[in-house]
Structure formats: C-alpha cells, structure tokens
Amino acid sequence: MNSFIKANPIRCIGCRTCLISCVVAHEGKRIFEIDPDAYNFNPRLFMVKTARVSAPVHCRHCENPACKASCTSGAIYVRDNVVLVDTKKCIGCKNCVIACPFGAVEIVETAEVQHDGSPRKIANKCDLCAGVADSPSCVKVCPTQALALVTEDDLSESVADKRRSAAVAALV
C-alpha cells in the first residue's frame, strides 16, 4: 500500500512551518545563500483555511492514482509506495491537476528556460520527500505534531483496533 501524510485539523494551528520545510527540503540549503527571487517558492502541500478548518492538503498517494491515469506523457509513476512525477517527461498538460480529486497537484514554473525563453512549467506534488530527506520534512517540523506519515502497517493496526472495539461494543 502507498504511504501518505494525514493532517489533523484539531492540532493544526495554521502556522505553515510545514510549507517552508517542504521548500527547504526540495531546494536544498543553497536557498539560504541565494537571492530569494532566484528560485520559485513552491511548497508541495497547500494550506486550506475555512471558518472552521485549518490544515495543509497533501497528495494522498492513491492506490489507483487518477493523476497517473490521466497523464498524457507517462510522467507519473509509483515507486516504493510513493506516487511521483518524472520532471523530465512532464509536459505541463495539466490533466493531472484536473484529475486529482484533492487538488494536490499544481503546475509550477521551474528555473529551466525553454527555447523561446519562457520558463519550463511542470506538475508539482508531494513526493513524501523521497530522495531529498530521510523522512517527510513537514512531519518533522510541525510544532504541534499535526502531521503524520501513515504507512500500510499503521493503517492495518488502526483498522484492527477499530474492529476490536466494534466487536467488543457488539457484545454489550
């Protein structure tokens, strides 16, 4: 099963430390040395604030990813339980943006310049920090522990717990 990050809106205080950590993880420490306008500040999770809810929205790393199915260039793939975008292959067609039911994908400008001088734009989404950090950075920095990485083991454990209490409840 694919892993994903779950936000707990009861704990989230909307501070967005997680958003910055995402950029730092993906851009690398050099961003503390360069002009802050020299790269694009594109967190891969999105802060949502309504009257009653504050929580970041991440990619769910679906088992049958709608983004992957809709991708025209075969740029979206699953590896080690993570749904990833091959940035080389992506042509920025936006199908994935439309297909994703959570709004977890967006098209962003990269630093790469195309033949016509315009910046190359590609799909950007949560990759669970695969290849950039040992564990998801947002989970690590959140001051209220509002974010948790949910793996197959975690999920089966919690499901087992729930079944146990359901069975016990049926007895009474």
Binding site: R11, I13, T17, I20, P36, A38, F41, K49, V53, P143
Partner: protein
C-alpha cells in the same frame, strides 16, 4: 586533502517570542558560517519550534532584502539636515556624550528619555540602559516597548495580585482543565504555547476563546465567544457578575486572601448577562455558561494578549481577569492562574531589568526611599525619586508641549523602531524631527534611523552573549554563534562607553559581570546565577538564594499569598466605556491590528530572512468579511487603499469567513501596508498603552490594478533604497 573544519554546536534561546524555545546551531567556525539550526529540548519547547525558530536566523547573513545591516557608526556632523557620515567609534561616542551632556546641563535630567530594547540585546544590556538613564542622565525617563503591548498587564496585575508576570508557567497550561483565552491568539503570537493548548484539549480540557475574529485559537476552542471588538470589560464584568450572583465563588479563598469584595460587587452588579449581551453582542446563555465553566474547576487558566491590553481600557480588563481568578480560588497551585503571555523574546526581561519609569530592576519602586538609598550606594550617585514618563507620551512632551523647559530634548532609542511600531506614524515622524538629539542604536537601518542624529551599530542576537527572560519568568542563556561582521559593538558596551565619556565610568569585561551586579541588587533574582542557568537550562524567578536548593519558582502566589505589600489580593474592576474612536459614515469599518505568525515586530529581522519573506511579503493583507468584499466588489489579492482620519496605505484584500462584517484586520509588520499610519494614539490612562485594537477606517477599491501593482513595487523599491540597499550589492 580534505580541509579540516572546526564545526561546533552551540545552543541558544530563540530571539523571537517569549516562549523562549531552545535552538541548536551547527557552525563552521573557520568560515563563520551557520550549517544547520534545529530545535532541541528546553523547559518550554520540548524540542519543538515554530517557523521563526526554524528559519528565522537567516538575517544574520545580511541578505539585504528589506534593509541593510548597520556596520559603521554614523553621525550628522553638521546638525539636522546634514548627511549621516561614517566616523570612528571614538568620534561617535564623543559626539553622543557631548550632546547628551549639553542637553542635560541646559534643560535638566528630565529632558532625556531612554528606550530600552526588549529584543536581541538581552537582560544585561537592559540593565545597562536603565542604569545609564538613572545614574548618568539622572532621570527615571526610561521605558521600552512593553508600553505598546503588555504594560497594561504589568499595571493591572500589580494593582491586584502584586506581580506583573504570568503566574503559571508555560508547561502547566497543558494540564489545565479550563483554558479561557481572551484577546489571545497563541497560534499567531506563540505557536509553541498554542501547542500546549492543543495538548490540553487532547487531555480533555475545555477551551474557551473570546475574540471578535475566528482566530486559529477560536477555531480549536470548544466555545468561541465572538464578541464585538472593544467590549472586553463588559464581558469580564458580567462573568464576575454570574460567578457572584450564582454563588460560584471560593468563599474561603476570597475571605482569607482577598479584599475589596464590596467595592468590586458595587461595579459588577450592574453587568448582568442580559446587560452585557447588549454591549458584547453575545448571548446571555453563552456568558452564563462561560462563567459556570470557568468557576467549575480549580485548574482554570486565563490567558490574554494584545487583544485586551491594546485598548484604552486595557488595565481595567486585566484587573478584572485577575479578580476572576481570585474569586474562584484559581491561584497558588499548579495549572491555574493568569497568563499575560509576553510577545517579544525579552519583553518580560526588559521589565525585570527595570526599563520602566517607576521601578528599578527587580520591580523595586523608585519612590521608595530605602530602595533609592540602596541603588545610590551601589551606583555611587544621587538618584531621582520621581517616576519618569512613558515612551508613548513622547509626542505629548515634544510637539504638544509649549514650554521648552518641560520638553524632551534627547531621545536614546536602542533596538526599537517607533517610526514603524508606534501608533499614528505621522505624529511620530514629526516628533522625531523636533527632538533636538535622537540616537538610534540598532542592527538594521530602520525608519527611525532616518530621523537620527547619530546611528550606532550593535551586535545582533547570535553575535553576543547574555540571557533573556521567557514569558513565564524563566532566565535562559543566549550565546554567541557567529563573529559579527563590520564595526559593531554589543549594546551594553556602547552604552558603557557613552557613560564613561560623560564622566561616569562603566566597565564590565563580560555580561556575567553585569548580571552579578544586578542580581545582588534584586532579591527576587539573587539566586539566578549564570551557573544555575547553565545547569538548569532555565531559572524561573523569584529565585532568592544562590544555593543549589533554590531552583526557582514554577508558579506564583503559592497558597494564595500574593505579592502585594500585605500579601492580600485586591479585587478590582471598572465600568465599561466604549473605544475612543468608533465607526462613522466617512469611516464605516472598525480596524484592528493583528500579527503575522512568520513575522516579528517591525520586521527588520524576519523581513530579512529569505524563507519567512517568501512565505509572506509586502504589502500585507487586510482581512475583510465576504459581505464587505462583495459590497466593494473586491477579490482576493486585489490591491486596495485603506484610509483612516490619520492617513492611508496600500495593502492586499483577503476575503475571509473568519471576520465579521464591519470589522477589518491588518498586520502591523508591513512597511507598505503600515497600519500604524492609520491607528490612533489614544492611550490607556493608567498604562499609557495605545488603543491599537480599535479605530475607524475605510477601504477603497482601486480600478486600475496594473497601476496599483506597479505603484506598490515602486514604493517597495523606494523603501529599500531608503534603507540603503544598493541593487548591485544584493546577492546574485
């Protein structure tokens, strides 16, 4: 061959808010470069930090985003209007000392006012600033930015329970059973305190939040009292009314430990929930429920912030909050009491150090002859026994004072930016221009420095040693992480040099020497040695004895013994009166100033941190209700112009379900969207804290958005160049 690097780990206290989180720096000392920063375990933070702690150290790299670091002393050799010229430290010190001396001789000691810094410089510098003001200048005209935030908490608490600090400590919040937040949004001001509220909730605490806006704190609360802005006194009085009339009081506590009940009841008896409902807009049921809930536990905590203190009735509200805790016996045990949570990292410490016009370090009254004699003996000079004036009254003692003999003629500002932070900026600028001699001692160019006759560059947090006091009375060490760049000196050393040049030698070899002089003069702090701070990490005052056994004080007023002269608490409150300036036809909206979680104070520091700047930048936002946005045809992100009687600024519109129709909110940290161009300078008569939280305003749509965007960009560039950022110098 691989280069040998001298990598060192250094622990220090975060420089941003009163939570006092502990951060660990990894530094390449040869390259004088920060390699990594992350939070580590501390008494208040338990290994966590907010975005400012994680990413707010970047200004030490001087990235020149908003302003440039001050690196050389500068003076206006040929008087006002002449350019600031770079000079040697000797020349700058002589220039400042001569001018201070001249003014003191001509106009007397009270023509001087010193503003201490509640930010980076630390407690030792704070002690030196007030010592300079009192011993060298001979006046008690010393104050700091607590005046514009929590002075009402200090005044209101001292008048009722005798001590103007949090009675409980931050970790205790977690074990409270009822948490009543009033005018306090920990999520934006102290995320790591908010973490404790979240934890308390998970442990089963009932969370109440009184705030006109749906803040993050209101959102995670079990009950949100969305009261009308400026009606706090009516609400707290009515809570007291219910507690008394439904006999929910702790009779034994009230009898043994308080006085003034009859006078108190005389005032609150009028504030029935029905009557208070007409003022606050809340339902009488919610008021009754809140009072009952609050009184139902012996572990009820009241937390408050600027949302009650920045009103002209700030002191009144604080007094009544303290009285609510007394009525219900909620003092003197763990996880109860009152929590005025201090905003800036060292605003508690700067109060502790006596950077206030009425008290010496350790809250010892300047009017007490015995105390005066003690300090006269220690400092070897005669001292004034007349309480000084508050910094918010500077305009009154400059532009509004006809008699030159009574005016302020010299203003020594360390680590503050009144031309950004004080209300009614137009008036402040006029004031600064009319003061004969203004000295700005800071780390960055700021708006106030533009009006200065001398600019003295200081070391920043991370470039010097010292200690800060966390909001819950905890002394914690700050340590030098990097070698400072440029011709800068620690704040305390600059002030000592000025004192010495004025004929009062002040010499210390390090901050510990200053600290040792201070603790021996302040019984409450005597036991808090550097060694103890080192060993314990944090020492909460009172800490009376230097011995190992006295580890400090977790909560105040043990067993109901208050810090008043006779140990008895005094129940106090006042009748409600409305804010000074209310909505009218020309200005139909109420404007309240709030804060942005990722930015701090006047933003010279966080505005120069790449990550924090990229998360939120100029020209800031005005939060408006969906209805008001509809009426004006405004969309998210559109640039608008906000007006009050006093001025106008550009900012961006943020439509939100979280605010009520008719009320708008602006963050005070922006320079373009500088809402203090709009705020009113009316002051609380007791604490002299300005009424930032309420004035009348109007928002106007701008048709030509393309033009507006260019205009804002132009203003930004203009600001940056005024702050001496030269384009080519900016890192490529």
């Amino acid at each position: 061959m691989a280069k040998k690097v001298s990598v060192k780990e250094i622990q220090t206290t975060c420089c941003y808010c009163g939570t006092g989180c502990q951060l660990l720096f990894t530094v390449d000392q040869d390259a004088n470069k920060i390699l990594d920063v992350h939070p580590v375990w501390g008494r208040t933070n338990e290994g966590t930090a907010c975005l400012k702690g994680w990413y707010g150290w970047d200004y030490l790299n001087d990235p020149q985003i908003l302003t440039k670091r001050l690196k050389e002393p500068m003076i206006r050799k040929n008087g006002k209007g002449s350019p600031l010229e770079v000079v040697s430290w000797d020349e700058a010190i002589k220039f400042v000392a001569d001018n201070f001396k001249k003014i003191k001789e001509k106009w007397g000691p009270d023509s001087f006012l010193g503003a201490a810094s509640a930010r980076g410089p630390g407690n030792e510098a704070g002690y030196i600033t007030q010592k300079f003001t009192r011993a060298v200048m001979g006046t008690n005209n010393i104050d700091h930015c607590a005046r514009i935030c929590h002075a009402a908490s200090v005044a209101g608490s001292r008048q009722t329970i005798g001590e103007g600090a949090m009675s409980l400590s931050i970790p205790e919040i977690e074990n409270a059973e009822v948490i009543f937040n009033i005018g306090y949004n920990a999520a934006a001001s102290h995320p790591i305190v908010a973490r404790r509220i979240v934890k308390a909730k998970e442990k089963g605490a009932f969370i109440i939040c009184a705030d006109p806006r749906i803040t993050e704190t209101a959102r995670i609360s079990d009950l949100h009292l969305q009261l009308k802005g400026g009606s706090n006194v009516a609400l707290v009085n009515s809570l007291a009314n219910v507690i008394i009339s439904e006999d929910l009081i702790d009779h034994e506590f009230v009898k043994l430990h308080t006085k003034g009940f009859d006078e108190f009841w005389e005032i609150v008896k009028e504030y029935t929930p029905e009557y208070a409902a007409t003022i606050t807009g809340l339902s009488p049921e919610d008021i009754r429920f809140t009072a009952r809930k609050y009184a139902s536990s012996k572990h009820s905590v009241i937390l408050w912030g600027m949302g009650i203190t920045q009103f002209s009735q700030g002191v009144e509200t604080v007094k009544c909050c303290c009285s609510l805790a007394m009525l219900t016996g909620n003092f003197g045990r763990p996880s109860c009491g009152t929590g005025p949570v201090r905003g800036q990292n060292n605003v508690q410490g700067t109060c502790d150090m006596g950077d206030l016009p009425d008290v010496y370090p350790g809250y010892q009254n300047v009017t007490d002859p015995e105390i005066q004699a003690k300090f006269e003996k220690a400092w070897g000079v005669k001292l004034s026994n007349k309480a000084g004036i508050q910094l918010t009254r500077v305009p009154e003692f400059v532009i509004h004072e006809k008699d030159p003999a009574k005016r302020i003629h010299a203003y020594y500002i360390t680590g503050e930016d009144p031309a950004q932070s004080d209300p009614d900026l137009e008036e402040i600028r006029e004031t600064l221009d009319q003061v004969d001699f203004v000295v700005v001692q800071d780390i960055f160019w700021n708006k106030t420095a533009e009006h200065a006759d001398a600019v003295l560059p200081a070391t920043a947090w991370g470039e010097h040693d010292g200690c800060y006091t966390s909001s819950d009375r905890g002394f914690q060490r700050v340590r030098k992480v990097l070698e400072p760049q440029g011709n800068v000196l620690p704040d305390w050393e600059i002030t000592c040099r000025i004192a010495t040049a004025m004929g009062y030698p002040m010499h210390y070899n390090n901050t510990e020497e200053i600290w040792n002089e201070m603790i021996d003069l302040c019984p409450k702090f005597t036991g808090a040695t550097y060694e103890k701070m080192e060993r314990q990490g944090s020492v909460q005052w009172p800490c009376w004895d230097k011995g190992h056994e006295d580890t400090g004080t977790m909560f105040l007023h043990k067993d109901g013994h208050f810090a008043t002269p006779d140990g008895i608490g005094i129940l106090k409150t006042s009748p409600y009166h409305p804010p000074t300036e209310v909505e009218n036809t020309e200005f139909p909206l109420s404007l309240c100033t709030v804060r942005e979680v990722g930015h701090y104070s006047v933003r010279t520091m966080t505005g120069n941190c790449r990550m924090l700047r990229n998360l939120e930048d100029e020209p800031g936002w005005v939060e408006m209700s969906l209805e008001d946005c509809d009426k004006l045809g405004l969309r998210e992100g559109e640039i608008v112009k906000v007006f009050s009687k006093r001025g106008s600024v550009y900012t961006r519109c943020k439509p939100t379900e979280r605010v009520k129709q008719g009320a708008v909110y602006m963050t005070y940290q922006w320079w373009i969207g500088a809402c203090n161009e709009l705020t009113i300078s009316s002051l609380d008569p007791a604490s002299r804290t300005p009424e930032y939280k309420y004035c009348a305003a109007r928002v106007e749509k701008i048709k030509d958005q393309a033009w507006a965007k260019e205009e804002v960009a132009r203003i930004y560039e203009d600001l940056r160049s005024r702050m001496h950022i030269v384009k080519e110098e900016v890192l490529a």
